[in-house]
Amino acid sequence: MEISNIWYFLSALTLLSALMVIMSKNPIHSVLYLVFTFFCISAHYVLLNAQFLMAVNIIVYAGAIMVLFLFVIMMFDLKKNIPESKSSLTKLAGSVVAGTLLVILIAIVRKNNIPAPLGDKFNSQTGMVENLGQVLYGEFLLPFELVSILFFVAMVGAVLLGKREAGERNF
């Protein structure tokens, strides 16, 4: 099979599952469709020859972040939080805004002939974990160390927001 056919198939699958995320009524189903969307995006990473990103995307996004999403959904009382259906004027205004944005985006992409990145200097092995490590721990050392500060802040923030006092119920 031609590689572009795989790409078209994958893109259609990704868009379809992403649409199902916002269209399904049950929030748990939305989360499961989102997991499927992440798997499709991981397959795109394979086509881009970025296998490390593929593995990280599955482990972190499809695994860990989705667990958090499920927790958040379970923490809400879903019966109390059913959103009211919008009036038809709001729906019309929303579709007009979204449609205009879509037209503008398509026009921008069509007007600008985006050149192929790097051209002749393209190296298919850039996304491999060896090369990624060399770049990450050499050229991009400062962002890497800043990430640890970001993690630290996230940890402290989560503890400050979520700490419970003793004696409160767990269910």
Binding site: I3, V46, L47, N49, Q51, F52, V56, I59, V60, G63, A64, I65, V67, L68, F71, V72, M74, M75, F76, D77, L78, K79, S124, Q125, M128, V129, E130, L132, G133, Q134, L136, Y137, L141, F144, E145, V147, S148, I149, F151, F152, A154, M155, V156, A158, V159, G162, K163, R164, A166, E168, R169, N170, F171
Partner: protein, 122 residues
């Protein structure tokens, strides 16, 4: 090594085989197994206590905290993997870089432990 996307085809074949096995077994059990439907048989906990109320009760934020800490340390391990692959080439320089990275995360971990987030009952 010069990797291409098709070199990872065996992984997808394995994934497809695992999925196909699950689907096959599910279809086979439903096709071969006996079917006896009744109000009691179709209960969620057939031989357990009767289920009361709704499963969607609000749960404690403690679970969420443990989950978010898991995600953070999960990401830490992700950053260690490219470092471990390049361990020899990066030599001591890379080691010191990693010490700084791990030191800050360890400070966060000590903070979490001191705050008693991971102790369930106090």
């Amino acid at each position: 090594m010069n990797y291409q996307p098709q070199d990872f085809l065996p992984i997808f074949v394995q994934l497809a085989a695992a999925l196909a096995f699950i689907v096959l077994v599910m279809v086979l059990t439903h096709a071969l197994g006996p079917k006896r439907h009744s109000a009691k048989k179709d209960d969620s906990f057939e031989c357990g206590i009767e289920s009361i109320g709704d499963a969607r009760t609000p749960i404690s934020v403690k679970y969420f905290l443990v989950a978010i800490l898991f995600v953070l340390f999960d990401l830490e391990i992700v950053f260690m993997y490219p470092w471990a692959v390049n361990f020899k080439q990066l030599a001591w320089n890379g080691f010191y870089e990693m010490i700084v990275f791990m030191g800050l995360l360890l400070a966060g971990f000590i903070y979490v432990i001191k705050k008693g987030i991971l102790t369930w009952e106090k």
